[in-house]
């Protein structure tokens, strides 16, 4: 019922994208997310979709796995679309009823917003589909390393992240055990209203909390026994190295970034009128 958190959404195919340096993948994802907020033409969305499609093909991911992550935001997209559709006024009125009206600008803005959200989630899910959470944590640690010069405890943050990842399945398993134990004593978790149900969770949360403290205590002993110290003397077994694929990936996303900027600030919708003619 609970997929192993170590691999999260990870869809292993061993492709070149999977083998890329997690730091580069994080960086490129950030670049992509920034770029997509600058997209304001249909041509721009076409480029974005093409780039995503190319990555999906190279990573040998099934389309379904990418679309699955979109499913999670379907309601947000629908809701935001409805609000946008009726709220944005400008241009030609296409339909009206009492105080409600839909304008052509509203329609365009709505479509663009929906496309932006969907493509954004697709892009972000490419990171989690091709990178394990542990790699993401390691990559993040490495990327935020410069912050230690302004006294940010980078190593501690990274340790906390990796221990949290490590203990999610353990605590989840424990929660299930406690729920079963409380059920065996007659507790009921699925009757009554919202408040009654929330209250029913209390006998689960308290033992879970107490046990977590005990675990933390034992883990601290175990770490001490293995000479844990947060000093500079630590070494790392895994060293991240940039490879050819990382540079190629960077060039691809950088080119995409430039294309989006050109489309927005230089061509400014010329491509849209060329392709779609009078439609836009």
């Amino acid at each position: 019922m609970f997929k192993d958190v170590a691999f999260g959404q990870y869809y292993p195919t061993g492709s070149v994208v999977h083998r890329m340096d997690p730091r580069m993948k994080l960086l490129l994802t950030i670049m992509f997310v920034v770029a997509i907020f600058f997209v304001n033409t249909y041509f721009g969305f076409m480029i974005t979709a093409a780039v995503l499609l190319a990555i999906i093909l190279i990573a040998r991911l099934p389309m379904l796995s990418v679309l699955k992550s979109v499913r999670a935001i379907v309601f947000i997209v629908l809701f935001a679309s409805l609000v946008n559709l009726f709220m944005i006024k400008g241009g030609e009125v296409l339909w009206s009823w009492k105080s409600l009206q839909i304008t052509d600008q509203g329609v365009h803005t709505t479509i663009k917003m929906a496309l932006r959200l969907v493509l954004l989630i697709c892009g972000a899910s490419l990171l989690t589909l091709t990178t394990t959470p542990v790699e993401v944590a390691d990559g993040t640690e490495s990327l935020i390393k410069p912050l230690k010069y302004i006294k940010v405890p980078v190593h501690d943050i990274a340790m906390i992240m990796s221990i949290a990842l490590r203990f999610i399945p353990t605590l989840f398993e424990e929660t299930n055990k406690i729920i079963a134990a409380q059920k065996a004593r007659g507790a009921s978790f699925d009757t009554g209203g919202l408040i009654a149900r929330a209250k029913a969770m209390l006998p689960v949360l308290i033992p879970l909390f107490v046990n977590s403290f005990r675990r933390a205590d034992e883990l601290a002993f175990a770490m001490d026994a293995r000479c844990y110290n947060a000093t500079e003397n630590r070494t790392k077994m895994k060293v991240m190295k940039l490879g050819a694929a990382d540079y190629v990936g960077f060039l691809l996303i950088a080119a995409y970034f430039v294309a989006i900027m050109l489309d927005r600030y230089y061509f400014g919708g010329v491509m849209d009128s060329l392709i779609f003619g009078g439609l836009v």
Partner: protein, 277 residues
């Protein structure tokens, strides 16, 4: 010089305002390199406290603990002691730091600043020694209890220790897991590593070279399994004898005579056969 030396070591901890519990009272013994020692006693006898004194997790309230001549009070050498004396804890889930198995095994060597290439070698070697090489890239949460403990042992081995302390490491495992861990412990002992096994399972203790029994924080018995099981004091310590020993004792009461104290099934069978001839 003995490898482990306790001189009149005591330990007490506070349980509230001004109240202290004396977990250990003047315990002295020494262990030579390569021994396999079982440390046993009832709950609250102080055996786990004693284990934590052996690698400097606790320092004695009075008396001294020396590991290869280094006093555990010497804070500057704490890491030296912990590298020499590794510890495998009771709960397999609460001693694993990293999600991926090989990362967890590498944790100790990373902490003490071993160069990268050597860490890789050590991790390979340690996982091989406990028979977990094929799992190295997997996630720890999918393993059985026995497998998790084997990974924990590999994590200790990667530090190249001279001593491994098992702090009730088999008590949360099923019989199969227990057997796995005992087998690994014996194998490591055969390579010259001193093993200190804290346990209340007498079948396990019977497999050691030497058994030390604690009662209310004091050392009451110290000898080979045969000597300890033959002692009348064993039951006063609240310890259940291994089934074979218990059976032999009952038979003795009914007129059987065993030439020596029975510690396992083989001994029992031999003793009975000798009687029948």
């Amino acid at each position: 010089m003995p490898q482990i030396e306790l001189n009149n070591a005591s330990y007490s901890y506070r349980v509230g305002e001004g109240q202290t519990v004396r977990a250990l009272r003047g315990v002295s013994f020494s262990v030579e390199k390569g021994e396999f020692v079982a440390l046993t006693g009832m709950n609250g006898s102080g055996k786990s406290t004693l284990a934590k004194l052996l690698n400097g997790l606790f320092t004695p309230s009075a008396g001294d603990v020396l590991i290869e001549g280094i006093n555990t009070r010497d804070e500057e050498r704490t890491f030296d002691i912990r590298r020499k004396a590794g510890m495998v804890f009771q709960n397999p889930d609460n001693q694993m730091v990293a999600t991926v198995i090989e990362d967890d095994v590498a944790f100790g060597p990373e902490n003490v600043g071993i160069p990268r290439e050597e860490i890789v070698e050590r991790v390979d070697w340690a996982l091989e020694a406990v028979g977990m090489s094929e799992f190295r890239k997997r996630s720890a949460s999918k393993l059985s209890g026995g497998q998790k403990q084997r990974v924990a042992i590999a994590g200790v081995l990667a530090m190249k220790p001279d001593i491994i302390i098992f702090d009730e490491s088999t008590s949360m495992l099923d019989p199969e897991g227990r057997a796995e861990i005992m087998e690994v412990a014996k194998k490591l002992n055969a390579t010259g590593i001193t093993v200190i096994s804290i346990t209340h399972n007498m079948d396990e203790a019977a497999q050691a070279d030497r058994i030390i029994v604690l009662r209310k924080g004091r050392l009451v018995l110290d000898g080979t399994p045969k000597e300890v099981f033959a002692s009348p004091e064993v039951e006063a310590c609240g310890l259940a004898l291994p089934p074979a020993t218990e059976l032999a004792r009952m038979l003795t009461e009914r007129g059987f005579a065993f030439s020596e104290t029975v510690t396992d099934e083989d001994g029992l069978v031999e003793g009975i056969c000798a009687q029948l001839n």
